[in-house]
């Protein structure tokens, strides 16, 4: 287990390092002179020079890279060009909103997917099954940025049940969470159906049936429990898609999270803030994925033993 832990953590550290480097080099993709793009063409040469020095862009690239990593290790991401505030403070303000949205999306996905996937597997090849699978195909095919306006149109504008946007308590969370959670629910339901069908052919399920257990007890205690492993991996992997989707969902609903901050910063050409947001989201994803791997190994001894040896 220890060697498994170490190898996983080492590879996660390497990926974190690589992601940070890639994000560092993003600013050099800005066509032409990034300082001129950020300040505008009519800016004074003196101002440009001042910003160039402030961002360290006048130094050789390896010094820039060292300074950047030094800053990262001290949780110092520099200042916003627009508001002149420390970027770390700006991120901290926005994290709760995005975390709330992502958590709510996850809850929606799990609440929809488990009954749907289980039902589809139990009544395989029935109308229920094809209905559930058709729903899930729809869920995968409807992008967030259309799902959101569609829900707003029905539930806010036509029915008047829920607020259009903003962040005012539970009611304003419902539509963004539904928007974000549907796609994940669709993918998850398919996965639950597939793994459950596989598990239900195992010998221990036949034994449970032979013991005379009810179908419900078999599914709950023996089927779902054993189908959980791949489902957990998928959840970990899909959390990334959830975070990416949260960015677009935030724009649709004017939700004041990291996604909104990123797009605002792109529009204001506040590139240090853009870099910080991208870094935060991708590092969160790496950490979550590593944790998923570890949880998986902890749940299933076969994996840690196989990899450790």
């Amino acid at each position: 287990m220890v060697s498994f832990l170490i190898s996983r953590l080492l590879s996660a550290l390497f990926v974190i390092f690589g992601v940070s480097c890639l994000v560092f080099f993003l600013i050099h993709l800005v066509p032409g002179d990034p300082v001129e793009v950020m300040l505008g063409e009519s800016s004074q040469p003196a101002d440009r020079e001042a910003l160039r020095v402030a961002l360290g862009l006048d130094q050789p690239i390896w010094v820039q890279l060292l300074n950047y990593f030094n800053g990262l290790l001290h949780f110092d991401l520099g200042e916003s060009l627009h508001s002149k505030r420390p970027i770390v403070d700006m991120l901290m303000e926005r994290i709760p909103a995005t975390a709330t949205l992502a958590a709510a999306g996850l809850v929606v996905a799990v609440v929809i997917a488990f009954p749907l996937g289980t039902m589809a597997a139990m009544k395989k090849d029935s109308a229920w099954d094809s209905g559930a699978m058709f729903f899930s195909l729809f869920g995968i095919s409807i992008p967030n940025f259309w799902m959101g306006p569609l829900l707003i149109l029905f539930f806010s504008l036509w029915l008047g049940w829920l607020p259009v946007s903003g962040q005012s308590g539970f009611a304003s969370l419902v539509l963004p969470a539904l928007t974000l959670g549907t796609a994940l629910a669709a993918i998850l339901a398919r996965m639950i159906r597939a793994t459950l069908l596989e598990v239900m052919g195992e010998d221990y399920i036949r034994t449970a049936r032979a013991k005379g257990l009810s179908e419900r007890a078999i599914i709950m205690n023996h089927g779902l429990k054993n189908a959980m492993l791949p489902v957990i991996t998928l959840l970990g992997l899909q959390l990334g898609a959830l975070l990416g989707g949260a960015m677009i969902t935030e724009i649709v609903f004017s939700w004041p999270g990291i996604g909104q901050l990123t797009i605002d910063a792109i529009n204001r050409r506040d590139y240090p803030v853009v870099q910080a947001c991208i870094l935060l989201i991708s590092l969160t994803y790496v950490v979550v994925n590593t944790l998923t791997d570890l949880v998986y190994a902890w749940l299933d001894p076969r994996i840690r033993l196989a990899e450790g040896s």
């Binding site: 590879s11 600013i27 095919s141 940025f145 898609a241 990416g244 960015m247 649709v252």
Partner: protein
């Protein structure tokens, strides 16, 4: 669902994208007298906030999404398969390096890297294609690497090596034909996700720039007039959904038909 429905939608998309310009389209013609007019028997899809024909804009939007998705999938496929199969075939430190690079690219969730790239490089169709290719090659590289790994010890490959064939010949003559089926299926699903990604970037204002229509930017324009002109958000959205749904259905069918049992989990 029967195959004719997705096939018909896909063909319609294809035909409109390829031959749409044969119609006399005026997607940019502003006509103030018909601003926000709803669909009627004359103009099936109504007019937008500048009085432009939604039908004309929809067709040009179909061209946009078609061009972008074909370009992105083709480039990603070529780059990804070359890197992935070479990596598996050569092995050693090169393979390690490629796997690490793939891991790093996969650490950017979903559309995030494309948003960052398109945001920093500036909008425009070229930059959208570049941004989506940077994200897109990874899936193909991973898939072809995994496939070649399982194939490279087959007898016919070993025989080719023994006969002195070079890596390029072995990869293109002896390996890629065997992994074509999963690659075709992956490409189909990739088309669906690129269509969504292009529309997503354009929705965020980072993709195709006005006045050129894209389904994504049409949806964004529509969200401002939802109460008075819901058709502005419904029309491009339904088109987008139907195309993506059809491509996904065709991909599913193709997978059953070509009998590829183990598609990599995304």
């Amino acid at each position: 669902m029967r195959l004719w429905f997705p096939a018909a939608i896909f063909l319609l998309w294809l035909v409109l994208a390829l031959f749409g310009s044969l119609f006399s389209l005026t997607p940019d013609q502003i006509e103030l007298s018909r601003i926000l007019l709803p669909p009627d028997s004359h103009e099936w899809f109504g007019y937008d906030d500048l009085g432009r024909s939604m039908w004309d804009r929809l067709i040009v939007g179909a061209q946009t999404s078609f061009i972008v998705s074909i370009a992105v999938v083709t480039i990603s496929l070529l780059v990804g398969v070359t890197i992935g199969s070479l990596s598996a075939f050569v092995g050693g430190w090169f393979d390690h390096l490629v796997v690490r690079i793939i891991d790093i690219f996969l650490a950017f969730p979903g559309i995030l890297l494309a948003i960052a790239l398109a945001g920093l490089m500036g909008p425009g169709i070229d930059n959208v294609v570049i941004a989506l290719c940077v994200v897109g090659w990874v899936g193909f590289a991973r898939l072809s690497r995994a496939q070649v790994m399982t194939l490279k010890n087959r007898d016919h490959v070993q025989a080719a090596i023994a006969l002195g064939a070079g890596p390029a010949r072995i990869i293109f003559k002896h390996l890629i034909p065997l992994i074509a089926a999963p690659l075709i299926i992956e490409s189909t699903f990739a088309i669906a996700s690129v269509v969504i990604a292009e529309a997503g970037l354009s929705f965020l204002g980072l993709g195709i720039q006005p006045p050129t229509p894209s389904w994504g930017s049409m949806i964004r324009d529509g969200t401002r007039y939802m109460l008075v002109a819901p058709h502005m958000v419904l029309v491009p959205g339904i088109a987008l959904m139907l195309v993506v749904l059809s491509v996904n259905l065709l991909g599913d069918r193709l997978r059953d038909w070509l009998d590829v049992r183990t598609r990599e989990q995304k």
